[in-house]
Symmetry: C2
Subunit: 308 residues, 2 copies
């Protein structure tokens, strides 16, 4: 498989498949979610089950000519709609779950329910995002900008494993994973830099499979060759990172918000650790970003099926 | 004074003055520092005293025709050169100190020396940076991306005061200061969000003078009106922040590195708290960025003189 290097290539890849994915959307009441659903239908990448109050859904989604591609399940109550969405995943009636205009905490509580939720025991819930940045030659994955505020060493290892797996699914044979810090210096004053050394050693011994991991590195040294050269830093990342692992949620979120705003980057993101990809957009995400998140989830769902 | 909204306007403002600033540069051995010095001379914004080993300085800086604007003081030893630079500031022979190719820690140790250094007792040393971003309509100041890893409440208040003062010096009458967090929610789980509430209350009572302070806000809501609108957040920042105060050094540094790299932003920065502006560039800063830092320091030095 040729590596997918942009969101356009992602759509083309999905269109080249013979099958479609099926996506359950909980409470698709807002314009951005509507855009994402209609765009996905137009591009031919997925079918939908829409759960929630029919009277609150945009009329364009209820049109008769769409009934081949959209199934509507009417629920007056948001939480019931969410519960049904989770059930559809458990019964393998859909491949992907997506949040519309429902309170995030309400939906998460149902997803995380120990008895009939979507997070298998022992799994770490995390968030993986990817950006298509006009000034960078390939997709740039990053984590965790949304779920775990201060990952501990074990959580961080899981986060790296999730990112590596998805990179492989995107056709990146040996992803370059950069462990982000504000400096390249390792110091006991910053325990995270010691964790990074530990992780890099494990990676060198093969614990993470087919991947190159290095750090601590800053964002510029990770993504620009000259930056490392000027500083006299030699790293196998070589300014060509595929993945940035951020030290904390503040830095991950700052990256996501500032690069999407100031560099006109396009964004996609899914939850990781759950038994199916879950699209959980933030309120300020655009319709386009919600569509790209669906596309990302479709690729992951397909590749997981192939393994299963 | 009309607000300065770009680095070009900053240069023009400095050119409109009748006087020049005088800058001591310690160990100006590298090409980027050379570029910044020659550019400053060309633009007519400052004169220089260069301290260090003459044999290591680029020959272009030693040309006879520059002797009206450049004084060379030869020192074989880097630390002696640094010490002399600090002395020149103390004796008011120069207005600004700048680091060339000398180890940052060595220079900082001399600057921070309690007896004859540049940090008055009780002052907090911090770093203030400013970006000229092609996709943002005005200059965007931010702090602290370089010096204090985890500012406590008192340090954060100082950081805000420094930024506000410099904004006023740039002609921004009522700067909008945004306290950055990864979400707009206030929660005891994140003590910093409680500190922010405290600071906003103090600001409302006038403790910070002529300034609008709000937070917690994320970077997008701070700098894009639509983002706040979609989230239903009403803030006097209105997507038009002049200043971003970051929660920790990792997020500040991520902002600085990713926006300069991916959004082609130009950067300037100076130390704050010292008795004169100190330009302490990072090794990977471009020559242009070092020139803009000189320009920023010149403006600050001038305005401080007016007050003194």
């Amino acid at each position: 498989m040729k590596p997918i290097r942009s969101f356009d290539e992602l759509t083309k890849y999905l269109q080249s498949r013979e099958s479609h994915n099926s996506i359950a959307v909980v409470c698709p009441y807002d314009e951005h979610t509507k855009y994402a659903i209609l765009r996905s239908l137009n591009e031919g990448v997925s079918h939908f089950v829409l759960l929630g109050n029919q009277n609150l859904m945009p009329p364009e989604l209820l049109k008769k000519e769409l009934c081949k591609h959209i199934t509507i399940l009417h629920y007056e109550n948001d939480k019931e709609a969410a519960q049904k969405g989770v059930q559809l995943v458990k019964k393998r009636k859909v491949d992907i779950l997506m949040k519309g205009l429902i309170n995030t905490d309400d939906l998460l509580r149902i997803i995380l329910n120990k008895e009939d939720g979507l997070l298998p025991q022992g799994k770490v819930l995390s968030h993986l995002a990817v950006m298509d940045i006009p000034t960078y030659p390939k997709l740039l994955f990053f984590s965790d900008a949304a779920v775990i505020p201060r990952p501990n060493l074990l959580q961080r290892i899981k986060i790296i494993e999730y990112a590596t797996t998805v990179c492989h699914q995107f056709g990146i044979e040996k992803p370059k994973v950069s462990l982000i810090h504000f400096t390249e210096k390792v110091s006991p004053k910053f325990p995270i830099s010691m964790d990074y050394v530990n992780i890099v050693e494990q990676a060198d011994e093969g614990a993470f499979g087919d991947v190159i991991i290095d750090g601590p590195l800053d964002v510029k040294t990770s993504c620009e060759y000259e930056s490392g050269e000027i500083k006299g830093i030699s790293t196998p990342i070589n300014g060509q990172a595929d993945v940035l692992i951020f030290p904390n949620i503040e830095s991950g979120n700052t990256f996501y918000k500032s690069v999407s705003l100031f560099a006109n980057a396009k964004m996609a993101g899914v939850l990781q650790g759950t038994c199916c990809p879950v699209v959980l957009p933030s309120r300020s995400d655009t319709g386009l970003s919600k569509y790209y998140s669906i596309a990302m989830a479709c690729l992951i769902a397909d590749k997981n099926k192939t393994i299963a």
